[in-house]
């Protein structure tokens, strides 16, 4: 139940982010979720897209450094305490979160949280055991 995410290295220069969006748009790649982590010199853009392979090839052809990582998309009720419950489950099982970001589903009223774990398989086992809803790639891309 892992989801493929692509990450792109972006220098802090004007227009680089727009360039990524432009080349993906031209290839008909739709961005489902994104997060930008930045430092003073560079940023790492993380994307969930509806076609990871095309996105990766296109970006590489345009000179970007890209890599693919596996993340986990967890669905939680969009209500106060929703996030806390998940984090508590992870904390109790001593699962370490490398980073995370979230977005809200348009129709279902749920929030989707994307987690990057250092030990993905263990994290998935823990979440499954606690009955947490994990989204498949197909489901996620079609949201």
């Amino acid at each position: 139940m892992k989801v493929e995410q692509i990450s792109i290295f972006i220098e802090n220069k004007s227009g680089r982010l727009a360039e990524v969006a432009r080349v993906l748009g031209e290839k008909g790649v739709n961005i489902r979720a994104l997060s930008l982590a930045d430092t003073s010199d560079f940023g790492i853009l993380r994307l969930l897209v509806d076609n990871t392979d095309i996105a990766q090839t296109t970006l590489k052809e345009n000179g970007f450094t890209v890599n693919k990582t596996e993340v986990v998309a967890v669905e939680v009720p969009d209500e106060p305490g929703g996030l806390c419950n998940i984090l508590q489950v992870l904390d109790d099982a001593q699962v370490n979160v490398e980073y995370m970001y979230a977005f809200v589903e348009r129709n279902a009223g749920n929030a989707v949280i994307i987690f990057r774990f250092d030990d993905v398989d263990n994290a998935i086992a823990v979440l499954n055991e606690k009955g947490v809803s994990i989204l498949s790639g197909e489901k996620l891309y079609s949201l």
């Binding site: 990450s7 290295f9 220098e11 560079f42 790492i44 000179g63 890599n67």
Partner: protein
């Protein structure tokens, strides 16, 4: 293989007495024919007839690049123009170009020394030599061309630029020897990969690379990525052009300088004092056979040391350690001498780091700052900030450990640092002069 067995293996004693004889001749010749030298010798209080042994060389004054500019264009020529058959010049990026002229015999000597150099590098008459040094005023292209023809190789006079075509020709014509700058050889490998070609599968077996200082680490990188034996060749237009010295393929360690034509010395670049063999300093060369424009104790600005120990190849000519940098490329950052090649070797030691880099020197208040730009590639990139910051910190620490200065590492996108088809530009110094 040795091109000219008699001269390349001349016993030291005979070699040195030949040098002394030729030194005396050249001192007399320039004193009589070049007003600049007469003036310089007189100022230093030395008469050419007093120059009898190699030790007397130290009594002669130095010649600087500035002297060539001051005598632009023909002031240092020792022969009238009707005996000059070729004129070359430096690019003149830092002022008027330095102009050099060759007599027919100079061209023959140059060709002989390039033939020796190519043979020492392992090339021979069966080779298809792909010459990607620039043709024109720059000495690289024609210098290599004549030498390659002399050994009987099939020369492809490519000149620089037009990388795609270079690759096509190299592949289709089955080039076996590549001559260009070290940085361009890497660029060719990258460009080939972009075209979906593996340059290592080409027939290339040797690269004879020069015209810019490069590190041993870069050599390893080139040998792996281009799939060749990379041989260092040294030269400068003021002295001759390429072929002043070359590594032999047997040792690949230090450049044999052709001592029957040149006398090398090492000096302290600040005080001008002569240094003994083995000590690092600025290379000074006196040409002892050149007719068109002889050079007396020319300060090359190149930093190296003389290796006097005999070489396994049997040549008796002493070697120069690979150039560590140029005294005018030497950066003084917060009082510390820094050569770009030192930073290069730190970068090459870190797995996955690209050999392309740029140094930006600036000043904040009274403090010098050094920024090292390093390209991120797929191997070094991670989706986690901490990994990239860890990489930056590691580079920073290793530079600090080696040079004792702190710097700022800036990770930049791949292929954003300019690739060079000629000499690589590694430093931007923004400090107020």
């Amino acid at each position: 293989m040795i091109w000219n067995d008699e001269f390349e293996r001349l016993p030291r004693e005979a070699l040195e007495s030949l040098q002394a004889k030729r030194l005396q001749q050249v001192a007399e010749r320039v004193y009589a024919t070049v007003p600049f030298y007469k003036q310089q010798f007189d100022k230093a209080g030395v008469k050419p007839e007093k120059i009898k042994s190699l030790d007397d060389l130290r009594r002669l004054p130095f010649t600087l690049k500035q002297d060539m500019r001051d005598n632009y264009p023909y002031g240092l020529f020792a022969k009238p123009l009707d005996q000059i058959v070729r004129i070359h010049a430096s690019s003149g990026t830092t002022g008027k170009p330095t102009v050099v002229g060759y007599t027919k015999r100079d061209i023959e000597n140059w060709t002989e020394l390039m033939a020796r150099s190519f043979t020492a590098a392992g090339a021979n008459r069966g080779d298809i030599l792909h010459n990607a040094y620039g043709y024109g005023l720059f000495t690289g292209g024609l210098g290599a061309h004549y030498g390659a023809e002399k050994i009987g190789a099939s020369v492809i006079p490519m000149s620089g630029g037009n990388t795609k075509k270079q690759l096509m020709i190299m592949q289709d014509f089955g080039s076996t020897v590549l001559t260009c700058t070290p940085s361009y050889s890497l660029y060719l490998a990258e460009a080939a990969a972009e075209e979906g070609l593996d340059i290592r599968k080409f027939k290339l077996r040797i690269g004879i690379l020069g015209a810019e200082p490069w590190s041993e680490k870069l050599r390893n990188e080139i040998e792996e990525k281009v799939g060749i034996k990379a041989i260092d060749i040294y030269g400068l237009s003021e002295i001759l052009g390429p072929g002043v010295g070359v590594e032999c393929i047997e040792a690949q360690s230090g450049l044999h300088i052709w001592e029957d034509h040149f006398i090398p010395e090492i000096i302290d670049p600040i005080s001008g004092e002569s240094l003994p063999d083995g000590e690092q300093g600025e290379l000074v060369i006196t040409t002892i056979t050149k007719e068109g424009i002889p050079m007396i104790r020319y300060r090359t600005r190149d930093i190296t040391r003389i290796i006097a120990e005999p070489c396994i190849c049997g040549r008796t000519h002493r070697r120069l350690e690979r150039m560590c940098g140029r005294s005018d490329d030497m950066l003084i950052i917060r009082g510390v001498n820094v050569y770009p090649s030192q930073i290069e070797s730190v970068l090459m030691d870190i797995e996955g780091v690209e050999p392309h880099y740029m140094l930006i020197v600036d000043r904040e208040g009274t403090l010098d700052t050094l920024e090292v730009q390093v390209e991120v590639n797929e191997q070094t990139f991670s989706d986690e900030i901490k990994v990239l910051q860890g990489l930056s910190r590691r580079i920073e620490k290793e530079i600090k450990d080696l040079l004792g200065i702190s710097c700022r590492i800036r990770l930049v996108e791949p292929k954003t640092i300019a690739r060079s088809e000629g000499k690589a530009q590694r430093v931007i110094d923004n400090r107020p002069k």
